[in-house]
């Protein structure tokens, strides 16, 4: 099943790329979109096969020179393949609707339609790669194809070009780190296949192991959008077209988590506590920093991108906790924490693809991403609004949403880490619990803002007023994702055996940490259980009761005007905007966010007592970016400007450089060797 699935995915991707670059007009969109969806379905089937216990190893020597390519699919790969495949399949359908009627400039262009199936294929192939060269090759194709897709609207907006530049630089810095880490690993372990790495890892010195882990984990964390290497994420995801941001945010960033699990647990075979404490720290900071940035962001897609940083931060916390527990010797608890992290990857993929898809539908209908200028979309785009609400319910981590189940598991695993000895654990775990809880609290405010300000109330701009419901194909794709969210929310227990296998393949002997069949999530050797379906049923019953009983007693509902304080009908300008909604939160977290405010007062020329004009500007820059990246970029720019003086244009000076260079080379050769 795996081999057939991967083969079908490869063939469909090739067909899709060919169709996308050859066919004209609407036929191109349909052919390429259908092929992309097919790639996703095939990948999902292959992943499901692996989750069911199947294994597959393959070798295609002719695909790459020298080393050839090596592939292996186990349950851990299968989980990520299935998630990426499911997202790709739904987004493929959605993408046909998104690109149609959108001109040839953007996603409908030949290049974009040719690249899209390839990007989809790499999302599925990265977890299947089983040698360093194969992995890096697929990884880089994924980075390049996603870069091209981010750039498709570069003619329409200048910000797209900036975002593309940031993304290109960041992703290649990540590649350099990854290359360095894997090269060191392969050189010391005596082979570049994952099997050889696994075998050779035990003989490495602790320093080498630590270096390999830090280098690769930094690269993977950057792909997962972890602070402080997240700078590309809030730029690239918003500027990309809807389907691309959905794919990047719901499928590509997961591969960062996959890489850390694969190298940290499987290839290196676990490590000392400091690796994992570091990872938990990065994850916890990303979670809180990401959700705070989301809370003050008024751009809906930027908000969702920061929420991705938050959710992947939670996954990293879970992964770090798993490593920490494993290092302390409690394999069962480690398996539980890792299962929580993996389940959160699945849940996040489902609701984030849905949210980005619905946001894409809004942007397509209005051309506006600014929540301050949206509003009133619920009566105009009822289905999209409903789908966004389903996604938001998943994202706020409250029952009966799907995000709740995995955050519950994560919190359970952190609470029960108490049995671990050691001061580091006793400090790290409560802090981690606090960070997770804080991010969950702020997330509720974030998604109330996104849904309430963006979709409810009255439209605050003409674009929002003219919004029309998205085409059926887009809604169909989103509907599939919403079904996925509902399934994950109500019967997460179905994933239990697959999760156990994935955790076992990561090297933590699965003890059936999450079991209990479809209806209940029961934890092995912990006396706690959760039945999401039961909660949903109880809530439904209670709602029916609370609606029906008063209705028997009371009168009919009457339509009326809003209460206007006697001052005339309220206008949209009086309503709260996203910025005003977030203002109290921004004030609370003043010290963390460091907002900037400028007040320019222009006085009347005759008298300083009279004011002619006051201009107020408030913005909250990404502080990490400001403090960390700005100085480096400024330094580079300064060096560049200073170096310009070296090239004065005089041929004599250039000849002099050559002469001095040659001389110094000779000196070095004579003295050094």
């Amino acid at each position: 099943m795996i081999a057939a699935g991967l083969g079908a995915a490869g063939a469909l991707a090739a067909a899709g790329a060919a169709a996308g670059s050859v066919l004209p007009g609407r036929a191109r969109l349909i052919a390429s979109g259908v092929c992309t969806a097919g790639v996703g379905a095939a990948g999902c089937a292959a992943g499901a096969g692996a989750l069911g216990g199947e294994q597959w190893t393959g070798r295609l020597p002719e695909l790459l020179p020298l080393a050839g390519t090596v592939w292996q699919v186990d349950a851990l790969s299968g989980l990520f393949m299935a998630v990426a495949g499911a997202v790709v399949a739904a987004v493929g359908v959605y993408g046909i609707g998104y690109a149609s009627g959108h001109g040839t400039l953007g996603l409908a262009s030949r290049t974009a339609q040719a690249v899209l199936p390839l990007f989809a294929l790499t999302l599925i192939l990265v977890p299947a790669a089983a040698s360093v060269s194969t992995f890096l090759f697929v990884w880089e194709v994924m980075a390049l194809s996603s870069l091209l897709l981010v750039l498709v609207e570069h003619r329409a907006r200048a910000e797209v070009r900036t975002a593309g530049l940031w993304y290109a630089v960041m992703t290649h810095l990540g590649l350099v780190l990854l290359l360095a880490g894997f090269a060191l690993f392969a050189a010391r372990a005596g082979g570049e296949g994952f099997a050889e790495l696994r075998a050779g890892a035990a003989e490495l010195s602790p320093t080498v192991r630590g270096t390999v882990f830090v280098l690769t984990a930094a690269a993977f964390a950057s792909k997962a959008g972890a602070v402080p290497l997240h700078a590309w994420l809030p730029r690239a995801h918003p500027e990309a077209p809807g389907p691309v941001s959905a794919l990047m945010s719901a499928a590509m960033v997961n591969l960062g988590a996959y890489g850390i699990v694969r190298t940290g647990f499987d290839l290196l075979g676990g490590g000392p506590a400091w690796w994992w404490l570091g990872l938990m720290g990065v994850g916890g900071v990303s979670a809180v920093y990401g959700i705070l940035q989301a809370a003050i962001s008024s751009d809906v897609k930027r908000l969702l991108a920061y929420s991705t940083a938050e959710n992947l931060g939670l996954v990293l916390v879970a992964t770090g906790a798993a490593g920490l527990f494993a290092a302390s010797g409690d394999q069962g608890l480690a398996a539980l924490a890792l299962a929580a992290g993996l389940l959160h990857v699945v849940n996040h993929a489902a609701f984030k693809a849905l949210l980005f898809g619905a946001a894409g539908a809004v942007v397509r209908a209005t051309g506006v991403r600014d929540l301050d200028r949206l509003g009133g979309l619920r009566p105009r785009m009822p289905v999209t609004a409903g789908l966004f609400a389903v996604g938001a319910l998943g994202a706020v981590a409250l029952p009966p949403g799907n995000g709740f189940v995995s955050e519950w598991l994560l919190l359970q695993s952190l609470i029960h880490g108490l049995e671990m000895p050691g001061v580091a654990v006793a400090i790290a775990l409560p802090l981690a619990v606090g960070l997770v809880a804080l991010s969950a609290g702020v997330a509720a405010a974030v998604f109330v803002k996104a849904l309430g300000v963006g979709f409810f109330a009255r439209p605050r701009s003409r674009e929002a007023e003219r919004a029309r419901e998205a085409p059926p194909l887009m809604l169909a794709g989103l509907g599939l994702l919403a079904l996925g969210c509902a399934g994950l929310a109500l019967v997460p227990g179905l994933l239990g055996p697959g999760l156990d296998r994935a955790v076992a393949d990561a090297g933590l002997p699965g003890t059936g940490s999450v079991a209990g069949g479809a209806l209940t999530v029961r934890l092995h050797d912990i006396a706690t259980s959760l039945s999401p379906l039961w909660v949903a049923l109880a809530l439904t019953l209670a709602v029916l009761l609370a609606t029906a009983v008063p209705r028997v007693l009371g009168g009919r509902r009457r339509r009326a005007r809003l209460w206007d304080c006697g001052g005339g009908a309220p206008t949209p300008r009086m309503a709260y905007t996203a910025t005003s909604f977030a203002e109290p939160l921004q004030r609370v977290f003043d010290d963390v966010l460091a907002p900037e405010q400028d007040v320019d007062v222009t006085h009347v020329r005759e008298s300083a007592y009279l004011v002619e004009r006051v201009r107020f500007r408030g913005r909250v820059p990404d502080r990490v970016e400001h403090r960390l990246y700005r100085p480096v970029l400024d330094g580079l720019a300064r060096t560049g400007r200073a170096a310009r003086r070296l090239a004065g244009g005089s041929v004599h000076v250039y000849l002099g450089y050559g002469f001095v260079g040659l001389l110094s080379l000779f000196v070095v050769l004579v003295v050094g060797w």
Binding site: A295, G375, G376, R378, P379, A397, L398, P399, L411, I415, H416, L418, E419, G422, V423, V425, A426, P430, G434, A437, G441, V442, A444, A445, V448, K449, G452, V453, F456, A457, R458, I526, A527, T528, S529, L530, V535, L539, A542, A546, T547, P550, R551, G554, G555, R557, R558, R559, A560, L562, W563, P572, M574, A575, Y576, S580, F581, P584, L585, V588
Partner: protein, 317 residues
Amino acid sequence: MSALGYAAVAAQTGAVVAGAPLLTGLMRQVRARLEGRAGAGVLQPLRDTRKLLRREPIAPAGTGPAFRTAPALLVATTLVVATLVPLLSTDTPVAGRADLILVVALLALGTVTLALAGLDTGTAFGGMGASREMTIAALVEPTLLMAVFALSIPAGTTNLPAIVDGAVREPDRLASPAGLLAAAALVVAVLAETGRIPVDNPSTHLELTMVHEAMVLEYAGRDLALVELGAQMRLTVLLGLLASLFVPWGIATSASVGALLLALVAFAVKVALLGAALAAAEVFWAKVRLFRVPELLAGSFLLALLAVTASYFLSGA
């Protein structure tokens, strides 16, 4: 599970639904007497609810499903919580599902639905109330969760009946530093969650200060009755939760009619005492400025964090 278990669940849910207006009436009466007024009597909120339930609800122009379903959802989440929390008995059919994290999350769900309803009206008041409510909720939820953890660490589970059961058997747990810190943090969080005085004034209609009232201004008739009932039930359930966690004596740990009746009386007395104490305290307190509220909540969050750390150190190493 015996029929008595089901009777216990029904009894505690019924007690919360019927007792919530009475508790509010009692608290108002205590305040009135302390302020030198006669007061409207303990039964007034019940009469108000009955009156409102008969009146027609309003659907203001431009509002949608979020506005219409919020009152029922608010009551529904609180109803489910009322069945889960072991107020009368730890031996109920739902005992295995009464998870503390779930209880906190369900209460937060009620807050979220009401905030969305406030935004749905599109008025300045609705938005303002929702914004303030979510700001407070964003800080209350982590505090509640942290306090919950501090309590569940000695019990080794987040299952509520198990925690209460353990506290009845080993009262030392409650007197530990972690237990006391958690209690202090939880009290502040409950005050904020239910919109009581240092955080929000439940009897104000002054736009500069109101939080809860601003969100629900557009409701009328039976919707308003549900919103009010929901708020009253939340207060009752949370006070009951406090009582169950920190003064668990009297709660039935096995199924017998006598124990159940005793537990019902104990529950009523405990919640009434807590409510009266809160009302008396409110007479002497002033409402804190909105932007000082986060300081209060941050303080209680830190207390909860200390409680968790303390229980790690005291029972872990």
